[in-house]
Symmetry: C2
Subunit: 409 residues, 2 copies
């Protein structure tokens, strides 16, 4: 008998019929003897409906009140799911984020969880209840309703699992696990049975949007075994844990990519201390997130080129800012390209294998793909290439590293 | 500068456009220097939408979870109204029932307010905020969400006004005040400038559905001046207070009527102590509310006839119950009539005027209307007549007591 926290996303609870299907699924788990806490999102479409109402009354909705509004979405789902469970003779009890004291900071619309008082949930579990908790929402110290931002329900589930010391946190979604790469790009992509938190973090941050990145961080920090499963199909999904003896010792676990990148370069900037800050300070001040940053040595000892990448939506504004600051800094020119993609190899195995990067570059060269930027971390090698090479590059790399096979040579 | 609690019903906040109109109205009051607490209902149609969802997942929705679900209705409205106010540069802050600690008993779906902790609201008012509170909902001692039952938003408003010692509680609705009788029945019906709590209670309980009866009781108990106004038209509405020097000294304030009555009679029951209980005990046990109860003297000293009235929806079940108990009691026969109406004269002035009842009976007799039951209280005389005489009776009485004129002869 295990204590399991399950999370069902908006699509899984998107209609009364689907809510009833989820109720049946929950009861099947309970009948196996498990104790269950279930975290749910708003029904799919509901958050957009609420945002539409907000837009209809305000051009820039007050952030505190937006949270009050959005929090009704999950509250509706917890009530409906608990009713469906009760209808099936299953003891169930719903809680909003405030009711189980999911204490967050007061950053409305993107709050972070500080603490969970799991006593009430634990008492209900002891009384044989299935406990149904609203994802995505919490409450600040003053009792104001907060939300964690889109996708925050994953974080709620992991945080509850950590607070309750659950045996596993299961995220039910519309895919049946984490793949070596996107199957829409590479049909031979293979579902991974296991992956480490670190790898998952790199995969998630690079655009494999299976799990919210903060949820993975949280799970890693508190060592909560996390499993991604399909709501609609049977299967074991993918288990995300710390590396251990029993894990597949693959060099590379997967290939992530990101289509939303754009790059900007200030050419001929003086090679002086403080330049990076002069350039990125105003970018950060405009709330633009920077992904890769590359500054090479100055070949003439005097000037260098400074390149960074941003989300494609922020490209135009970043360009304007960069043009403004570059002048005052004596840069010779500002250039940019919004039509790039980033392809990354991810794998804890590469820590001890120096050859990964060169194999990667060789594969891309063979296909005639020019590399525009390179960046590496301990368990990742990323390259930026022209948008048009995305599919070709991913498929070639998938083959080179034999990711279609469970035990690579 | 006054402290005013305003309540806007579902129709008044039925769309984003109407919510914006309410925001404009609120700001106009605030600009007159008033401090404002605003209580709102769910947008019209929203409660039915939520009930539809509940029905789709459960044949008999769990009462606790139904409250969790329904409470989202007002939560949506408070957020939208506060956003609309903020958009107009008006400091505003929304609160759910739980957030302002509207403490109720734990009778889900029909909870009663026990206590309100108004400190938080008072602090916001001091900080020049308009405070927007969700009507209809509260929280029990254990933190479970409760609702007060349909129409409970009026009660929330009055309870808040009492807790804050507000100068006035204004109920905005789709009628512009309390009338001497229903204008759809008597076109000469006149809006009353003032009416006493007692009169309003009698009017409300008799089917003049302008205000929820519990709200009027609450207002009377805590002496909160209550005003009924139109959301859509300008005007002073009707003020409901205790009788005082300045009030119109009318004999009769209004004529209420109720189309939903049905009457039942057990004929020839033994004239013994305990008979009333034997008959009404099983009726009460079946959760059927009894309105009028009439038992006349036993002319033969042995048997009497026992008559009572119920809501027409409960007629059939009441008849079955009465037939069951009447047999064991030795009643000779059970008869009933579901096609009756009750017409009542209401007025604090009748306390000191014995002639009211006889004028009433005389008027009805002149029109050939047969009276089937009579019941009186200190400020009310009610008669039960055939359904078909409703309009005729109301109009004749309206004329007899000159209710179309502000200062009756």
């Amino acid at each position: 008998m295990a204590l399991i926290v399950q999370k069902y996303g908006g699509t899984s609870v998107g209609s009364p019929e689907r809510i009833q299907a989820v109720a049946d699924k929950i009861i099947a788990y309970r009948d196996q003897g498990h104790r269950l806490v279930v975290v749910v999102s708003a029904m799919s479409g509901e958050t957009d409906r609420l945002l539409g109402l907000a837009d209809a009354v305000s051009a820039s909705p007050n952030p505190r009140e937006l949270d009050v509004l959005l929090a009704t979405g999950e509250q509706t789902t917890i009530a409906l799911l608990s009713m469906a469970l009760a209808e099936r003779g299953c003891l169930a009890r719903s809680y909003t984020g405030a009711q189980v004291h999911i204490l967050t900071d007061n950053a409305h619309n993107k709050a972070r969880i500080r603490e969970i008082d799991a006593d009430r949930v634990a008492a209900d579990l002891d009384a044989q209840h299935v406990v149904v908790v609203a994802g995505f929402q919490g409450v600040d110290e003053k009792g104001n309703i907060t939300t964690l931002g889109r996708g925050g329900s994953d974080t709620t589930a992991v945080a509850l699992a950590a607070a309750l010391k659950a045996d596993e946190c299961q995220i039910f979604t519309d895919v049946d696990g984490v793949y070596t790469t996107d199957p829409r790009v590479e049909p031979d992509a293979r579902r991974l049975e296991r992956i480490t938190f670190e790898e998952m973090l790199e995969m998630a941050s690079l655009g494999s949007k299976v799990l919210q990145i903060r949820a993975v961080e949280f799970a890693g920090k508190y060592n909560v075994p996390l499993r991604v499963l399909s709501s609609f199909e049977e299967g074991e999904g993918t288990l995300i844990t710390y590396e251990d003896e029993g894990m597949e010792q693959a060099l590379i676990s997967g290939i992530a990519f990101n289509r939303d990148e754009a790059k900007l370069t200030a050419l001929g900037v003086p090679d002086q201390p403080g330049i990076a800050h002069l350039i990125l300070g105003p970018i950060a001040a405009a709330n633009i997130e920077v992904d890769m940053i590359i500054q090479n040595v100055a070949p003439d000892g005097k000037t260098t080129d400074f390149t960074f990448s941003v989300h494609r939506n922020d490209y135009q504004r970043s360009l304007e800012i960069l043009q403004e600051v570059a002048g005052g800094m004596g840069a010779s020119e500002v250039v940019g390209d919004p039509k790039i993609v980033k392809i990354s190899l991810v794998g804890v195995g590469m820590r001890s294998h120096a050859g990964i990067a060169s194999s990667m570059f060789e594969t891309l060269a063979k296909e005639g793909i020019n590399i525009k930027m390179i960046s590496t971390s301990e368990i990742k090698v990323s390259v930026v290439v022209d948008e048009k090479y995305l599919e070709l590059g991913v498929r070639a790399l998938h083959e080179t590293f034999q990711l279609d096979q469970a035990t690579p040579a």
